[in-house]
């Protein structure tokens, strides 16, 4: 067997909330992949004509799907904010432990604020016609 570098064994470290944010970036990314599938199906329905669109909307406007849409919006807000944090790190900014912890708090607060506003606005518009 060739000797290759191993990934860090994360279980030996003391837990910090920045670790949770790190894995949530991947979790939200996977959620957004699912959301992309649904979005493309929705676009295909719109391309298929009014009947196909109405059929798709009757499913998408149902309560369980609205919950999933809300989760997708939350995932988008988080992946967006934390993605900007990752891009800042790529530029070499904010790598100090105190900075990374502070930016983690900022990401969580901005994510929750943006998600609440977006979800509220989305369903307020939807309530008029759905």
């Amino acid at each position: 067997m060739p000797e290759r570098p191993l990934s860090p064994h994360v279980t030996v470290y003391k837990w910090t909330y920045t670790m949770t944010l790190s894995i949530l970036h991947r979790v939200s990314g996977i959620a957004l992949f699912a959301a992309l599938i649904v979005s493309v199906i929705w676009l295909m329905a719109a391309a298929g004509g009014p009947e196909a669109y109405a059929r798709a909307m009757s499913v998408l406007a149902s309560l369980p799907f609205k919950c999933l849409v809300a989760i997708a919006v939350l995932a988008l807000c988080y992946h967006f904010c934390n993605g900007l944090r990752h891009l800042a790190w790529d530029m070499g900014w904010g790598f100090e432990r105190a900075q990374a912890r502070r930016s983690a708090v900022v990401v969580v607060v901005v994510t929750l604020l943006a998600a609440v506003v977006l979800i509220y606005a989305l369903f307020r518009v939807g309530a008029g016609n759905a």
Binding site: R26, G29, I30, L32, F33, L36, L43, M57
Partner: protein
Amino acid sequence: MSLRTPLGRVLNHGSARDGVSHWWVQRVTAVALAPLCVWLSLSLLDLPTREYAAVTAWIAAGMHPVLLALTVLLAAWHGWLGLSIVIEDYVPRSGQRLVLLLLSSFVNAWLAASGVYAVLRIALRGAA
């Protein structure tokens, strides 16, 4: 003392030239997607209703088809790169890993093609 030849040892570690391209393209697509996501979110919220006529009219208007097609294309590309990393990190068995990597590639290619096709079909219907 290793019996491996110097050439075998070098090949084992792969080329040093394309290792960074996966990382770089992931960043390029992220930077491009950020403003597109803001635009798309604000636009969807700005729609007065979510009825067929209003939605398709918005999709077909002005530069919207170009931006929408770009969004779907870049999202599928970015998703393909991201999912690949997750699969490579968490699926230890090479057979399952290969199947999932192929599946992710095909689904993301389907998403990119379908999304662009749907946007073009809606946009060109008005023009025809």
